[in-house]
Amino acid sequence: MKQLFCILAAIFVLFSCNQDKAEKELPSGSIFHLTSQWQDQYNHSYQLDALRGKALVVVMIYTSCKATCPLLVADMKKIEKQIKPSYLHKTSLVLVTIDPEKDTPEHLAGFAKTSGMDAPHWVFLRSDEAATQEFANVLSMKYKKISPIDFSHSNIISVFNPDGELILQEEGTGINTEKVAGKVNEAVKGS
C-alpha cells in the first residue's frame, strides 16, 4: 500500500511539473517571442529567449559613435553600480548594435574590454539588418544611417522583467539611473 502511495505521489508530481510548464507560457507582449538570431561578444549564437529568466536593461548603440553613445554607455555603467550586487547574476545589461556591419563580435568584445564591461552580466549583441530594425521597433527606437559611418538615433534605455515584458523606458541622455536600477532591483526581487 505504501508503495502504491509513493507511485501515485510520483505520478502526481510528474503531472504537476507538466502543468507548471504550461502555466509559465510567455506573456503576449514578451520580447522573447522574437525569433531572430543574435551573436554576442563571445561569438555565441542564440535567440533572445536565451536571456529569459533575468531582468534586462537594454540600449541600442554603435561603438564608433562619438556623440551620445558614450553618454548612454556611461548611463548603463551608472545603472550597473546601483543594482544590488547580489542581483547582478540575475540581470543582463544588454547593448545592441545598430551597426551590425562594423560591430562584429570581435569588435564588440574589444569594446567591452576597453570600456571595462567584461563582467558576465554585460551582453553585447549584433544581428542582421532586418532583425536590428525589428528590434529597434520593439523598443520604439528611431534610427537612420546618415552617412557611411554615422547614424542618427533616439536614446532610449529599456528595462524588461525576466519574462521579457517591458516595464520601464527612459528617453534621452542623463536619465535618472537610480530609477532604472530601482526598477531592475524590483524585477529581480519579484522573480
Binding site: I7, S28, V138, K142, S152
Partner: protein, 293 residues
C-alpha cells in the same frame, strides 16, 4: 493488491503519455509560423525606374538615390488580408501577440476570420500594425516599400513624375487627406498617377518599411531631422518645400507611429526588388512598367 497496483501504474503511464501526445498533435499558432503557406498576391506591380530625388526634409543639395523597384499598383485589401489570416493563424485577432499589435488590431472585424457586415472587401485593409503588414508582404513574396521609394512615387501627379513644383499638387493631396472615412472606399476607382499607381493619397496612409527612420523627438544628435526641420512652420515655408505641406503631414504621422500601433486609416501596399532586367535602363519607364504578378 499487486494487480491493482500494476493496473493503476499502467493506466497512469498511458494517460500521461496520451496527454503528451495530445499536446504535440495540436498545431498551435507558433508551429504554424514555422510552416507558412504560400499565398499569392493579386495586386499588379508597376516598375518605377528609380533615380536621385530630393527628400522633403534635410538639406537642399543632398539627393537620395533610389534603385529601380516594383510597387503594388494599389493598397492591400480587406479581402486579401482575410485570406492571409486564414492561412497564418498567428495573425488572427485573437491569436496575435501583444508584442506585434495593440489591442485595436483589426478592431472592426466581427471575428478572427469574419469581416464586418457592409464592409467592402475591396477597400484597403487598415487597423493593422507594421509587423502584420510586413508579415503579409513576406507571405506573398514581397516586402514593404522603403520610405524613399514611397516618397519618390508620391512626387507624381496624374500627368508628370514630379509635380512638386505645382501649386495644385500639394493642395489637392491635403484636400484628399481631409476627407472623412475615406478608407471605406474600394481601391483602384480613382484616376491613377503618372506611373499607373492608384490610391497613393485618397484612401489611407501607408506603412513603410523604415517608417522609424524619421527622428523628431528625444533626438540624439541634432542631425538632419531636428524638430525644427520637420515641424516648425518656419522651415515648412522655407525655399525648398513651400508647396509640400502634405509631405510634412505624412512625416509627422510617421514620426508619431510605433510598430505595434494600429490606426483606422493606416494601411499598406507592397513593393519588391527588381531582378536584373535590361529594360530598366529605359528612360521612359511608364510603358514598359506594368508587370503582372
Amino acid at each position: 493488491m499487486k494487480i491493482q497496483l500494476i493496473h493503476i501504474i499502467v493506466f497512469s503511464v498511458v494517460a500521461w503519455c496520451a496527454s503528451c501526445n495530445l499536446q504535440e498533435a495540436v498545431p498551435d499558432a507558433e508551429s504554424q509560423a514555422l510552416q507558412p503557406k504560400q499565398l499569392s498576391s493579386q495586386a499588379k506591380m508597376v516598375l518605377i525606374p528609380g533615380g536621385a530625388y530630393k527628400p522633403f526634409y534635410g538639406s537642399d543639395t543632398a539627393l537620395v538615390k533610389v534603385n529601380p523597384f516594383l510597387i503594388d499598383e494599389r493598397p492591400v485589401t480587406n479581402g486579401e488580408f482575410l485570406a492571409f489570416v486564414k492561412a497564418h493563424l498567428q495573425w488572427q485577432r485573437s491569436q496575435v501577440k501583444r508584442l506585434y499589435a495593440d489591442t485595436n488590431y483589426l478592431h472592426d472585424w466581427v471575428g478572427d476570420t469574419v469581416l464586418p457586415e457592409g464592409i467592402n472587401i475591396d477597400a484597403p485593409v487598415t487597423q493593422l500594425s507594421w509587423y502584420a503588414a510586413k508579415a503579409y508582404a513576406t507571405a506573398v513574396g514581397k516586402r514593404l516599400p522603403l520610405l524613399d521609394e514611397w516618397e519618390l512615387v508620391a512626387m507624381a501627379d496624374e500627368t508628370v513624375p514630379n509635380a512638386r513644383e505645382k501649386k495644385s499638387y500639394s493642395d489637392k493631396i491635403i484636400d484628399l487627406y481631409l476627407v472623412k472615412n475615406r478608407q471605406y472606399n474600394a481601391v483602384s476607382q480613382s484616376p491613377p498617377n503618372y506611373w499607373g499607381v492608384y490610391n497613393f493619397f485618397d484612401l489611407v496612409w501607408e506603412w513603410t518599411d523604415d517608417f522609424n527612420s524619421v527622428l523628431v523627438t528625444g533626438d540624439a544628435r541634432s542631425g538632419e531631422y531636428s524638430d525644427n526641420n520637420l515641424f516648425c512652420a518656419g522651415s515648412a515655408t522655407s525655399a525648398t518645400d513651400v508647396l509640400n505641406y502634405a509631405a510634412f503631414m505624412r512625416f509627422s504621422m510617421r514620426a508619431g507611429l510605433k510598430a505595434h500601433y494600429t490606426v483606422a486609416n493606416l494601411g499598406f501596399r507592397c513593393a519588391k526588388d527588381v531582378d536584373d532586367k535590361p529594360l530598366l535602363t529605359s528612360p521612359e519607364g511608364r510603358d514598359l512598367a506594368s508587370t503582372g504578378e
